[in-house]
Amino acid sequence: MLEGTLTYPAGHPCCSVLIAGPHPFLGGDMGNNVVSALSKALALRGAVTLRFNYGGVGASEGGPADWPKVMSKFWKDGTFDEEQDWVNDVGSALAGLRRWCDLSPVVLGYSFGCWTAVKNLRESNAKAIVLISPNPKQHEFEPLCQSQAPLLVIHSDNDFTCAAPEMMSWFESLREPKTRIQLSAGEHFFRGHELDVTATVLGFLQHHRLLGAEQHDNGH
C-alpha cells in the first residue's frame, strides 16, 4: 500500500497529472519543495494531481529489506537493484490516478522521478511529459521514444548531477516534439525558485491547452 495525496479542483478537472518525486535515499518524499509546489499550482489551475511516497517512505509500505547493505551499495555506486520496486510504485500510482480520473495523464517527474516516470511511459498513455532535472548520466531514458506526447525538459544551469552542456547534447538526441527550458537559478533543488519551475510547467501545459483558465491563489 502506498501513501499519496490527491489534489483536485472544486469543478470539473481539465487534466490529470502524476508527479513522481526524487530518490527516497536523497530526501525524496511527497512533501519535497518542488513536488508540493507543482501539485498545489496545478490543482489551482484545474488539474487533478497525485503525488505519493515511494515504498518505505512515510506511511508507504515496503522499501529495501537489508538497509545497511543497500545503503552501502548506494554509497558506492549511486544505484541498487531494489530501485526497480520504486519504478513499479509509479505504475501503481498511475493505476490509482486512473481510478480517480479517467483523463489520460500528464506524466511529470523530478530528479530520480524522471526515470521512474519514463519507465512507465508505455502503459501510461501520457498526454504530455515533463522532466525536471533529469540525470541522463545516471539513467537511461530510451522509453521516451515510445511516446509522441509533447515533452518539456527543465533544468538549471548549475545542476551538480548533470552539467548544462551534457544536458543539452542529451536533449538534442531526443525525438520531437520537445521543449527545453534552462533556468538560471535553483541548482538541482530549486529551493526558493519553485515558482520559476511551476510557472514554466504551467506555461507549457497552458500552451498545449491542458489547463483551465481558472485563477486561484493568494492575494490581499
Binding site: 489551482l44 538541482h188 526558493g192 515558482l195 510557472a199 493568494n218
Partner: protein, 512 residues
C-alpha cells in the same frame, strides 16, 4: 488617545500584518497584548520571535515583562471565555487571504466562522470594543469614490475572499449594534516597509513582481529576443491605480484607530491617497528588472494566441489580473494627515521593496540571522559532536554501512555554534575534531543552532531543514546528499532531547 492601561487581544500576530500591529501596539507603554497563537504554541512563538526580532523587539523579554501573553488557540472555536476575559479591546487581524475557497483552505472557517466565534466570545466576556481588519476590496468591482461606510448589500465581489470579508464585516456590524463599539479597518494592498523595504510574505503585488523577475530571467537565457522589446500584453488599464500601502504605515494607522477611545461604530479605509497608476508600476518594474516592451491591452485572460512570454508571465501574474482595471478611489480620514506632496509609495521605496524581496529570496530566507536565545533547550553542540557521536555511532546502523568512507564537516551557526570535522572509515567514526583541524572535509553541512536542536531530537528530518529551513550543503553536494539518509537512520536510533540527554528510547543504544 487613552492613557490608562489597555489590554488588547490580538489575533493574527504571526502574519504579515499582525506582527507589525503587535510592534506598533507595544510602542504604547500602557498597552499589554494577549496574542492568539496557533498550536503548537512553541512553533508559533519561534516564528513570532523571529518576526519581532526583525523589528528590533525581543519576545522573550516582552513575555517576561508581562507585556505580551501568548494564548494558544485556533479560530473558530478552540478559545475559552477566560482567554479573553478582562480584555478592553479585540483587534482581529487573523484571516485567510486565499482568493478562492477550495473546501479546505479555511476561507469560510477562519474568515467567517472565526469572526463569528470571536464576536460571541467577546459578547460573553462583555468586551466593549471590537476592531476588525477587513480589506478595502470588500467593495468588489464597484467604481468611483467609495465612502467609509458599511455595504448593506453584498457588493459585486470578484472572489470568495472578498465575499468572506463582507460576511465577516456584516457580523461585526451586527455585533456593534447589539453588544459594543465595532470598528472596521479596511487596508488596501499591503506592501513592504517604507523604511527598509522589508516584507514577511509574498502576496498581492509581489506576485506580479515575481512574475516579472521570471520573465527577466527568461530573457537572460534568450539571445533571440531584445529584452527591451518583449511582446507582452498587459491586460489592464494604464491609468487605473494600484492602491498599495506600506505595511508600517498601515499598521500605525490601524493601531491609532484601535486605541482611539471610540464611542461609535465606524469604518476606516487605510488606503493610499496618491497611489501609483499601473503605468507607473510598470515603469518601476521595467526599470528594476531591466526589461521593457509590455503594452496595455483591453483583452482578457486567457489569451487564445498567448505567446511564450505571456504564458510565462501570466502563469503567476494572472493571480492579480482581476485588480488590473479598477478605477477606484477611497474616502480615507487616516490619510488626511499626510504632508502635501509626500507619497506613501514612490519609485525609490518600490525599488527598496524589490531589493529586499530578492535579497530574501522572495521572503523565504531571513536577511539577518538573529542571535536568539536557544528555545527550551541547552544542547551543547561541542558535547554532541565530540562526545556523543563517537560513543553512539559504533553502536548504530551507521557502523553497518561498510562502504561509508568520508570526511564530513558540520557547522552550527549562531552564538553557541562552531565547526567540527569527522572522519568515517568503512562505517566507523574514527576521529572528530573541532575546527581548525588538518582533516580536509569533502563536504559540509551548515545549519542554525535552532535547527540542530530540532534535527537531533528527531522533531524535524534533516532533509526538511535543508528544503525548508536553514541548512545548506557545500563541497561534494552529491555525497552530502547521499549521507542524509544514513544520518536520518542514526538520528532515529539515537535521538537526543533538547537538554543534551539521550531520549528514553535510545538509552540502551547509548550504553551498549
Amino acid at each position: 488617545m487613552t492613557r490608562g492601561p489597555i489590554e488588547v487581544f490580538l489575533t493574527g500576530a504571526t502574519g504579515f500584518l499582525g506582527h507589525y500591529l503587535l510592534a506598533e501596539l507595544l510602542t504604547h507603554p500602557h498597552v499589554r497584548c494577549r496574542v492568539l497563537l496557533r498550536p503548537p504554541v512553541s512553533d508559533s512563538s519561534v516564528r513570532l520571535e523571529r518576526l519581532l526580532a526583525d523589528l528590533g523587539l525581543n519576545l522573550s523579554e516582552l513575555i517576561a515583562d508581562g507585556r505580551v501573553v501568548p494564548v494558544e488557540g485556533v479560530l473558530p472555536d478552540s478559545l475559552k471565555r477566560s482567554d479573553v476575559s478582562g480584555v478592553d479591546l479585540v483587534l482581529h487581524a487573523a484571516g485567510n487571504t486565499t482568493f478562492h475557497a477550495n473546501g479546505s483552505n479555511g476561507l469560510e472557517t477562519t474568515n467567517i466562522e472565526g469572526t463569528r466565534g470571536l464576536l460571541s466570545l467577546a459578547a460573553e466576556a462583555k468586551i466593549r470594543r471590537f476592531v476588525f481588519v477587513s480589506t478595502a476590496y470588500v467593495c468588489g468591482e464597484q467604481a468611483g469614490h467609495l465612502p467609509e461606510s458599511f455595504f448593506d448589500r453584498l457588493p459585486p465581489v470578484r472572489n470568495d475572499y472578498e465575499r468572506s470579508k463582507w460576511e465577516a464585516e456584516r457580523l461585526v456590524r451586527d455585533w456593534g449594534e447589539r453588544s459594543g463599539v465595532a470598528t472596521i479597518c479596511r487596508p488596501s494592498i499591503l506592501f513592504g516597509d517604507s523604511r527598509t523595504g522589508r516584507a514577511s510574505a509574498m502576496k498581492g503585488l509581489y506576485l506580479v513582481a515575481k512574475a516579472t523577475e521570471i520573465l527577466a530571467r527568461a530573457m537572460d537565457d534568450n539571445r533571440d529576443t531584445d529584452r527591451h522589446e518583449i511582446a507582452l500584453r498587459i491586460l489592464g488599464c494604464r491609468d487605473a491605480t494600484c492602491n498599495v500601502v506600506p505595511i508600517d504605515w498601515a499598521a500605525r494607522q490601524m493601531t491609532d484607530i484601535a486605541l482611539n477611545p471610540a464611542t461609535e461604530s465606524s469604518v476606516h479605509h487605510v488606503t493610499n491617497p496618491d497611489p501609483p497608476t499601473h503605468q507607473e508600476v510598470k515603469g518601476w518594474l521595467e526599470e528594476y528588472f531591466d526589461i521593457a516592451g509590455g503594452r496595455f491591452s483591453d483583452e482578457t485572460w486567457p489569451l487564445t494566441d498567448a505567446n511564450h512570454y505571456e504564458e510565462l508571465f501570466y502563469a503567476l501574474g494572472n493571480v492579480c489580473l482581476d485588480y488590473f482595471r479598477n478605477g477606484l478611489t477611497f474616502e480615507s480620514r487616516c490619510a488626511a494627515d499626510l504632508p502635501p506632496g509626500r507619497r506613501l509609495i514612490d519609485g525609490a521605496s518600490f525599488a527598496r521593496c524589490m531589493k529586499y524581496a530578492q535579497a530574501t529570496n522572495w521572503c523565504r530566507t531571513p536577511l539577518v540571522e538573529h542571535d536568539l536565545p536557544p528555545q527550551a533547550s541547552r544542547l551543547d553542540p561541542a558535547w554532541y559532536f565530540e562526545s556523543f557521536l563517537p560513543e553512539a555511532v559504533p553502536c548504530s546502523v551507521v557502523a553497518k554501512v561498510e562502504a561509508l568512507t568520508a570526511v564530513v564537516q558540520y557547522t552550527i551557526t549562531g552564538p553557541v555554534g562552531g565547526s567540527w570535522v569527522s572522519r568515517f572509515d568503512r562505517g566507523l567514526l574514527t576521529e572528530t575534531h573541532a575546527m581548525p583541524t588538518a582533516l580536509k572535509p569533502e563536504f559540509e553541512y551548515r545549519l542554525s543552532y535552532e535547527d540542530l536542536v530540532e534535527v537531533v531530537s528527531c522533531r524535524k528530518p534533516l532533509q526538511d531543514v535543508f528544503f525548508h529551513g536553514s541548512a545548506e550543503m557545500f563541497g561534494d553536494v552529491e555525497r552530502a546528499l547521499k549521507m542524509v539518509p544514513i544520518i536520518g537512520e542514526f538520528l532515529k536510533e539515537f535521538p537526543v532531547a533538547g537538554g543534551g540527554d539521550c531520549a528514553a528510547g535510545s538509552r540502551a543504544g547509548a550504553t551498549c
